[in-house]
Symmetry: C2
Subunit: 418 residues, 2 copies
């Protein structure tokens, strides 16, 4: 790994301090992305638009967008103003504010299948809640999910073999391979009358692997089987929601879930998650007691209303799509010029790039490190995110940086065997 011993020295200094007081120093999805010291930033100092500056003063064009939440640009003045105005009146209290109703009305109108909405803080608050609702609604226990899909870090979602997970946590989980609607049908037959719900992401976005769009007919078949077998179909739209389609990613793929879970892009970084559902499930959703200390705070709801309205007004999703397309074609062109074979998978707004000819991601890591050195943050093993704050000039700069990073990859790992 090429290193620059001065570039991230404040990050490293802070990280050393952190390991003394925090297990791992930095944990969860923000665990430093590049193995080996001095290869990537660890701490942020300042954010603005599609850029951020680390604690060493390095500037980055950001293709992670905080792993999703930042969708309009960091420190967006209109969103921040909406949040501030609300907070100056009231945020956390013994009662919700009127903005909770306004936001629920807005979402129910925006998302065609939505007859009701509830709010939480984490995406996982909603995915966990959806399982309890499905179980209560059907009086059944089992849940089908796709192998390798991420639905949060609860024990049922982490899966057998992960630290802290016991067999009882997962004994009602059943698994299909992504896209296998036939396997889904077979499981539903085999466990007839036992399956409460099925939870899937709109398309497959695992880490350390290419993204996969749903195969032709997948969602139609899943919906059909769920209808036939009385299974509650839950969409985990936490990662893709409000980036593929303002009306929900299911509209993008042309199907209707019974419940859909949102977080990430819903409020441009203000802490909020939401679940929407169909009328038939509203009473069951009312029956499951579910709450959290800050779930009714008005400030993030005001931020969310502003975010969703601005996304619509500025045609943000189409802009992200266009910028994502530009990035994809630029990366492909530069890779080819450097005799490297890459794959850019997933929707343009949420792309991911891998190299075709290695399985260990060491070339991806080198590409990321060399891009970071030149001011662009591309993640080596997690899908990326575009925002509505990415402009053509940012994409062009990033493509030029990618060209230089590809050259370094070629130097170390050689040309692809094309």
């Amino acid at each position: 790994m090429t290193q620059d011993t001065d570039r991230y020295k404040n990050s490293i200094k802070l990280f050393k301090r952190a390991t003394k007081v925090i297990p791992q120093g930095i944990y969860g999805h923000l665990t430093p992305v590049i193995t080996g010291p001095l290869a990537s930033p660890y701490y942020v100092e300042k954010t603005k638009g599609c850029r951020y500056w680390d604690v060493d003063g390095n500037e980055f064009i950001d293709y992670m967008c905080s792993y999703g939440p930042m969708v309009l640009g960091y420190n967006h003045p209109e969103v921040d103003k909406a949040a501030d105005d609300q907070r100056k009146k009231a945020s956390v209290c013994n009662h919700p504010g009127e903005v909770m109703i306004e936001l629920a009305e807005h979402l129910n109108k925006l998302i065609p299948m939505a007859d009701w909405t509830v709010f939480g803080k984490n995406g996982a608050d909603m995915t966990n809640h959806s399982l309890m609702i499905a179980r209560h609604h059907t009086k059944r226990k089992k849940i089908i999910m796709s192998k390798g899909s991420y639905h949060g870090t609860a024990a049922w979602a982490s899966g057998a073999g992960h630290a802290g997970v016991i067999d009882n946590d997962v004994e009602n989980m059943l698994y299909i391979s992504w896209g296998d609607s036939e396997g889904f049908k077979e499981l539903a037959q085999k466990h007839k009358g036992e399956i409460a719900g099925a939870i899937f992401t709109p398309y497959h976005h695992p880490t350390w692997a290419n993204q996969e769009m749903p195969p032709e007919g997948f969602w139609k078949e899943i919906r059909k089987t769920c209808d036939e077998e009385g299974i509650v179909l839950i969409l985990d739209d936490v990662r893709a929601g409000f980036r593929l389609d303002l009306k929900g990613s299911h509209e993008f793929f042309g199907f209707e879930p019974d419940i859909s879970c949102y977080c990430k892009a819903i409020a441009n970084g203000y802490p909020l998650s939401a679940m929407v559902g169909k009328e038939e499930i509203k009473i069951s959703a009312s029956s499951v007691f579910y709450t959290g200390s800050y779930w009714f705070s008005a400030e993030p709801m005001a931020a969310s209303l502003a975010t969703l309205k601005i996304l619509k007004r500025d045609n943000g999703i189409e802009k992200m799509r266009k910028m994502g397309e530009l990035l994809k074609s630029g990366l492909e062109e530069m890779a080819q010029a450097n005799e490297l074979e890459i794959e850019v998978t997933g929707p343009p707004q949420i792309p991911f790039m891998t190299f075709k000819d290695r399985g260990d991601f060491r070339n991806s890591q080198l590409f990321a490190v060399e891009s970071m050195k030149r001011g662009v943050f591309f993640h080596p093993h997690h899908n990326w995110f575009l925002s509505a704050a990415h402009e053509k000039k940012d994409i062009e700069k990033s493509i030029n940086v990618a060209d230089e990073a590809f050259k370094e990859v070629r130097k170390v790992f050689g040309a692809s065997d094309i």
Copy 2:
């Protein structure tokens, strides 16, 4: 129930709108506290200090403090400034800010048993995580808790029979009655080598019941049994933390847990929760993957640092204790003057008042309704919270209001059979 058809008319109007788009209209712990329409506020318009104003313009001295989070007063200028200053630089991003380390260092120094800290959003993020850590640490499955204790709304914590909970969720849960350290010892013997952890609140604060302090010797016995049997002792200090003792409620009661969970008062309403633990468990805590979309946002961490420093500087806990004592003695005096027998239980900072001679809480509800009419929010079936913003004049006004409310209770339900 005495009603005032005009007093909460905007609340009712909004609530009707809400039921169309949100299951139950308002859910979770904010479900309107008084059964029957027009008896209590449902929506907040403005907050300030220890007061809030509902959407009908009614003003309340608040003894719920947002069910705990508000500890220094709503819209506290110093906390808000610390939060703003941080947010203007950076909050949500691909990396944490330095403030995460500062806050972890602060907590590890403040809380004597704390060797490490992690952060989340909900109190339940931490209680759920603590179970996974205890299981991973001990390679055991079972967890002991106290019947009727609240540790969040996850299925394991909600318990058998609650909507959405299946038998598998609770098959590794074992229960003692609050304070029964002998029963705890017996369970530990009966399931020798099978018990991963024990999770308790520092004292018992159930809803619809008096609060109970731990019996003499309880914590010493629990700690001893945990040591003998290798059980991870988890303190759920979400509700009481930073109100009984800045060093953690275990210091107040004179014992050391292995893990302690905080939320509520930690950041004066900014969304943050935290877990601290002992060195021996740090590696296990590192091994369990746990994260959330907004867990690393810097703004609530800056708010938390400010909150904890101000609480210390202003001797906030002692102030809350004094004001709580004043309230307690005032309520007792006024009740007696009205020939009503009441009990005020729990610590003065987190008091709860019940009437001795009825089990159905109808007199408590009337007391609450009549107090609300006169500008004081006392909850009829959930413990109350004091804040450092409550001044002597607020308490005195509240006691006078209580006197009038007691008179109404006496009119309807008669004098106590003293």
